[in-house]
Symmetry: C2
Subunit: 349 residues, 2 copies
Amino acid sequence: MADVARLAGVSHQTVSRVLNESERVSSETRERVLAAMTKLNYRPNPTARALASGRSKTVGVITFDTPLYGPASTLFGIERAAHDAGFFVSVASLRSLDMPSLISTSDDLRRQNVEAILVIAPQREVAQALTQLPHDLPVVAVEAGPAEGVPVVAVHQFEGAAQATRHLIELGHETVWHIAGPGDWLEAVDRVDGWRQTLEVAHARVPKLLVGDWSARSGYELSADLVRDPGVTAIFAANDDMAAAAISLAHRMGFEVPQDLSIVGFDDTPVATSVWPSLTTIHQPVAAMARAAVDLVLEEVHRARHGTGTPRQLLHPHTLIVRESTGAAPPPEGTDAPGDDGPPHDGGP
Amino acid sequence: MADVARLAGVSHQTVSRVLNESERVSSETRERVLAAMTKLNYRPNPTARALASGRSKTVGVITFDTPLYGPASTLFGIERAAHDAGFFVSVASLRSLDMPSLISTSDDLRRQNVEAILVIAPQREVAQALTQLPHDLPVVAVEAGPAEGVPVVAVHQFEGAAQATRHLIELGHETVWHIAGPGDWLEAVDRVDGWRQTLEVAHARVPKLLVGDWSARSGYELSADLVRDPGVTAIFAANDDMAAAAISLAHRMGFEVPQDLSIVGFDDTPVATSVWPSLTTIHQPVAAMARAAVDLVLEEVHRARHGTGTPRQLLHPHTLIVRESTGAAPPPEGTDAPGDDGPPHDGGP
DNA sequence: GTGGGCGATGTTAGCGATCACAAGCCCGTG
DNA sequence: CACGGGCTTGTGATCGCTAACATCGCCCAC
């Protein structure tokens, strides 16, 4: 920087002003400085800037170590959006889901001088702990259920689940079974609520709730009971993996989807299109949410110098994507007819 | 820090020495300083340390924006390992796969004072560009094919593909079709080579190569031709998504897996267990690789002060995981026995 | 003509650590 | 007894930048 100043014949402070786009520099001087910077291939040192100004142009992301599709792609979306805004991204992953872990992780980031923190943590405990975090740094939760006092970017899980359930009811199914996610996930809870209330509104019986852990394995095990039961014609799984597992199991036990059983997933992950029949599911605009979260948190950073605003909750639209895993309810037990079952049984070898 | 020094009755430099675990501090003094730090809840400021020492305790990760399972879980693995080593992680994603993009991304990180860079970029172009990166910073490639002059942590793709192919040959299949990944991915190329050479060694015919783009969709489209052809009894897809799609398509067209068609995938992603029948596939120890990559790069950082060592390539073991999608080859055409083919050509059983 | 205001630039301190070197102390040795 | 050397500790500069205030012209109005 000193070199640039010398070459441009100005003081280092003027160079700094050019760097920070202060208006108080004559355009002539600015040109000279810029030329010098180019010539010397000068690059400002963010570390020094961070030390001097307290601003690091970095946002921290707290996430947790999981192979789940949602969090991973959210992280990439955040990186992209932050980069576009000229910010760096520092990630830290949660060791466990308790309060101390959250605090210590956020301290790590804080000490790195991040200007804001984005939390990708859909678990109830984390969402609660969030409200306890020191308020000196803007914090935004992504993909979390609404939490008091903390800005959130998410989709309306309740509505999504309701729409999925409604879809099945409208296809003529008497009721819909639900394979839920773990009870400590906000999303899981909201989806259960959406499912239940929709059934109630439709005056449908509310079957026993099955609770999985998002994994295909759990979906597999839980659907075993369901598939065996001829009364079960429609399943709404709380994510695509469990839904895909239910399809697998149905096939294995000799049933056809959707002729015998309709299945709906949630998330619209790649799995949804790689199974057969492809999954009807609820799409969440992950990339858009990530971008919105970054916008929101940077807005907050900007505002931190002026007045305080109220935390906002940004709800993004979900979309029901109807693919092949859902269809009309099979006719009641006795009858048995539909031509969809493949070649009539009597024609074969 | 000044406060700590004052409280402990020492100079700031002594505090610094305690912080850096220098041996040149008497244990008595150290105790006093530590006590003062605890009492004041003192936390060193990494930014200042980075500025003064040039060491930031941060590693940069360059990845690219993709929903693929491998890169995402590698990133988390890296974070975990780095954190355990007391390092922060800063991520930057590649805009495009060309050289300028790589340079500029690495410059971003470099300017952040990262001490090393990990690159998750399995594309050939990126691997090549890596060798051009300035050598002032340790660079390690993860999940990339071996590239000259750059340390690499990966599994032996060639061997993995060979093992998958051999598995099918040993089950009695005359030959194995291959749905490859895009030609600009090193992994894809190596897997093709492994497949081809194994066939040649077994004196099996090498069928026409099909090239997909990792997506389920491409797997779907490409397997259409294969599944129709009764001569095709075994398919090795270069990743699980494409393999799962092939299974879907086979089902859709009325074939059974593995009775009519055996299918092997690669990667052992969650998809592998959520489809039916579950996929036989090649497992890659992603987490272990991530950890190894961090170890390697930190070792390099450490060594940077002393002599220079030779770049290492760390090859991790893959594992063939036999699940349900592979089985013995169906008996040759004429004989025909399983009732699955639909009406037998020769007049019935 | 002179004081005030304003835009452009320079000067001097830090930010919070580390580094290089110097200094004090205690001990053993010639 | 003086000197050298190993430990431990302290001093001042420095990393590259920004913040706050000082300074310098210049133009305008009374």
